[in-house]
Amino acid sequence: MQGAGGKFGAGPKPAECLVGLDLGNGWHVKAMVRPSPAATGGHFSVGYLVESDSGRIGFLKALDFIEALRRPNFTDALQEMTAAYNFERDVALKCGQTNRVVSVLAHGSVRVSGSFGDLGNVAYIIFEKAEGDIRAELAKHKDFDLCWCLRSLHHAALGMNQLHLKGVAHQDMKPSNVFWFMDDGFKIGDFGRSSDQALPSANDLFSVPGDASYAPPEQLYGFRVTGDFTDRCAADLYLLGSLFFFFFLKVSATHLLRFCVGKLGSGAILSGDFSADVVILQRGFGDALGHLEDELRKSGFRDLAGRIVRVVGEMCDPDPRTRGNRKVKLPCRRKYDIQRYASLINDITQRAELGML
């Protein structure tokens, strides 16, 4: 293993040597997407563009396990990495057959020729190739098209609902994980941080499994209501609602909430105990919603602004105990039912589309 460290220390690693390879299942590796490794899902991977015999373009994610060998406790790291890879692959396969979730087109491993020996075996997953993600799409346009934004949010809600129906919570729903497909609209992807009700994983143990910049406040406090999968569903609802802030204000709901709470000057009142501090968070969130409504109204969507902020208010309530459907009193899966919000967003979208006629 020492040799491996030295061998891959300066030169390319197996996962970086796939360009030009025939994967043996009808897929051919065309080009590397990211020249350097990017951390996703807690393990390192390298991205490629691949093409099938039929001419379909896909996105290949290759596992770079050499990164694990470089760590002092490499056996643990290797186990963690492979477990995460297997988990992501299994979840993607489980959920990828639905129309609003990015599909897995193939998976397997390929041996890279050269001096890598047995270490040249690279595991991969091939996903549908998207045109881009929400963040990249929004970056292209200065003004937003309300109908397009709402339809995107509706698609994201459908995707999340499809995951929940399969017993999977995404946990890392953020603009860069909602992908844009020219023919199919938006789909959600990247399951590296998800939780599967039927398949325990390391993700279940993290208090903030996804991106902390987008995480719901209870996760930042380490607060859990039920301590089971229901908490993950509550977090998913928040993450979905927070996309509204990103679409219309281009800022994360969590960042805006933190800023609004900071502006209250309530430092001394915040105790670090979520149950006590949630009152302050709710005040800050009320302010954040005010900014959202203000922006919608300024952009000319006066008729729908109130309806939108009420839905977002339910989805992103900083208190997971009151988040979601207010008619359901106790925290349970039904309270955080994404289907309800998919319908509400669809209703708003249709109103917006009718208004455009």
Binding site: L138, L220, Y221, F259
Partner: protein
């Protein structure tokens, strides 16, 4: 006239939420909502993303993390902030977020919604339509409705606030103050004692003690308070009101040394309420003086007013009373205290009436204010108006001292109406009711003597006083000695 040293406890204040936030100092929000470990790697990734794609979403992603990072703002963050400045207008929250992310000392504007809501029931209602799960906004709405005298709807708002945010001291203390305002201190105590914080939180325990002691209902939780003081878990600021409340009880029990020690400790880092309590105690001679200057303390209007009175700077004390009333519009005390200062020490009756009228919408059922208004009206020659106010006060006031004070005011009215005999009879009845209170007795004798001198029945020399003037409580007390002469008339 109501005097300045009626019993006082550190009854919790009820103020608008943004005002409560102003008075709090200490650790910042960042310590609780800071990004978890790994924020450094996150910043690096966001910097790379921004460099590759210089647009608003990437800029705000980077600035949002930079805002809560301990690192110095990077060049990339500064560049991203410039883009946000270009793309947004003045007053846009994103613009402000960007400026704070790259300059921690950038001035923060007050939250526009909080400021607007301070004077606007409609804005508060709109906020609640948008997000009904906001207990502090329910409490603010209740505050405004209580100010307008709409206690029924205010009670509903308070119930909604307690229902959704009853685990927070701000909500519990504000709600308990509402029940006191509504004349139901038992309900206030019931609410505090039913909370999960009732045995562990210094803010709740101090409120409990102050209400139990102030209204003489139930035994104060002294042992719980001592346990909290000995726990070493709380800052001097958090403990200031509990120490103050205990000190007041110790004064009542005659344990002056213990009380003075507690008052001293309460002033290490006092709330404005604890500071006001210390000045009140100093005014009664219970502590030798107050070492803390209230001059630059946020919202310490009451403490400043009491301090100015002690230093016989009554004009400045009156100014502070107006500010105190703005800060505590649901309390009758600023108007009672201020109208006393204005009428007795300054003889500025118009200002006394102005202060009372400002307090009336919320405190119209407080007999003392009607009495003080009657006094100022009769002093300005408006006898009919004064009589109406006395009638109002009589229908409200129930205790013995209040009725004695009212008799004295009635005596003044009768003198001004020309009915000297009835005036004297009123003053005599008042004397028998309030003779044990040296200050009230001194004031009664002063005004009675003033009327007798005005009609020429007595001279200053007959009374054995050198001048007919009251510039301090001490001056007022000196007039008690003329009671014997006056009672013979």
């Amino acid at each position: 006239m109501e005097t300045l040293d009626s019993y006082r406890q550190v009854i919790p204040r009820w103020v608008l939420f943004h005002r409560a936030c102003e008075t709090m100092v200490g650790k910042g929000v960042k310590s609780v909502l800071s990004a978890p470990d790994g924020a450094r790697g996150e910043l690096d990734r966001l910097r790379r993303d921004w460099t590759a794609n210089k647009s608003m979403p990437y800029a705000l992603d980077l600035l949002g993390v930079a805002l809560f990072s301990d690192e110095e703002p990077s060049l990339e963050a500064k560049e991203a902030a410039k883009l946000v400045f270009r793309e947004t207008n003045e007053g846009d929250v994103r613009r402000e977020l960007a400026s704070v992310a790259v300059d921690r000392d950038a001035p923060l504007t007050q939250n526009i919604f909080s400021v607007a809501s301070a004077g606007n029931v409609k804005v508060l209602r709109d906020r609640l339509k948008r997000f009904p799960r906001d207990p502090t906004t329910w409490m603010d709405l209740g505050f405004h409705l209580a100010l307008l005298g709409n206690l029924r709807n205010a009670r509903r708002c308070v119930a909604a606030a307690v229902g959704s945010g009853g685990a927070h001291p701000f909500i519990l203390r504000s709600a308990s103050r509402f029940f006191i305002h509504a004349g139901d201190p038992r309900e206030a105590l019931h609410l505090l004692r039913g909370s999960s914080l009732s045995r562990s939180n210094p803010w709740i325990v101090s409120a409990d003690i102050a209400i139990s002691d102030g209204f003489r209902i139930n035994a104060p939780k002294v042992s719980v308070a001592r346990g909290i003081l000995g726990s070493g878990r709380y800052s001097a600021f958090e403990l200031s009101e509990i120490r103050s409340a205990l000190a007041t009880i110790e004064f009542g029990a005659g344990s002056g040394a213990k009380a003075r020690k507690l008052v001293g400790e309460s002033l290490i880092e006092p709330t404005e309420n604890a500071l006001a309590q210390a000045f009140w105690a100093a005014g009664r001679g219970l502590v030798p003086g107050v070492s803390v200057d209230p001059k630059n303390r946020v919202n310490a209007f009451e403490a400043r007013a009491r301090n100015f009175v002690a230093r016989e700077k009554h004009g400045q004390a009156l100014e502070q009373c107006f500010e105190w009333l703005k800060f505590q519009p649901l309390s009758a005390r600023p108007a009672a205290f201020g109208s006393f200062v204005a009428a007795v020490f300054l003889e500025r009756h118009e200002e006394a009436l102005k202060l009372i009228d400002l307090a009336f919408p919320a405190s119209g059922n407080v007999g003392v204010l009607h009495n003080n208004k009657a006094f100022s009206l009769v002093s300005l020659g408006q006898i009919e108006g004064a009589l109406k106010e006395v009638e109002c006060a009589r229908s409200i006031s129930s205790n013995r001292v209040d009725s004695g004070v009212l008799e004295a005011t009635m005596g003044l009215i009768e003198f001004r109406r020309g009915d000297v005999e009835e005036g004297r009879a009123c003053y005599k009845r008042a004397y028998h009711t309030i003779r044990k209170d040296e200050l009230l007795l001194g004031l009664l004798c002063y005004y009675w003597l003033r009327e007798e001198i005005r009609i020429g029945s007595v001279s200053l020399a007959d009374a054995g006083v050198s001048k007919l003037e009251v510039k301090s409580e001490k001056d007022a007390r000196t007039f008690a000695k003329v009671a014997k002469i006056l009672l013979k008339l």
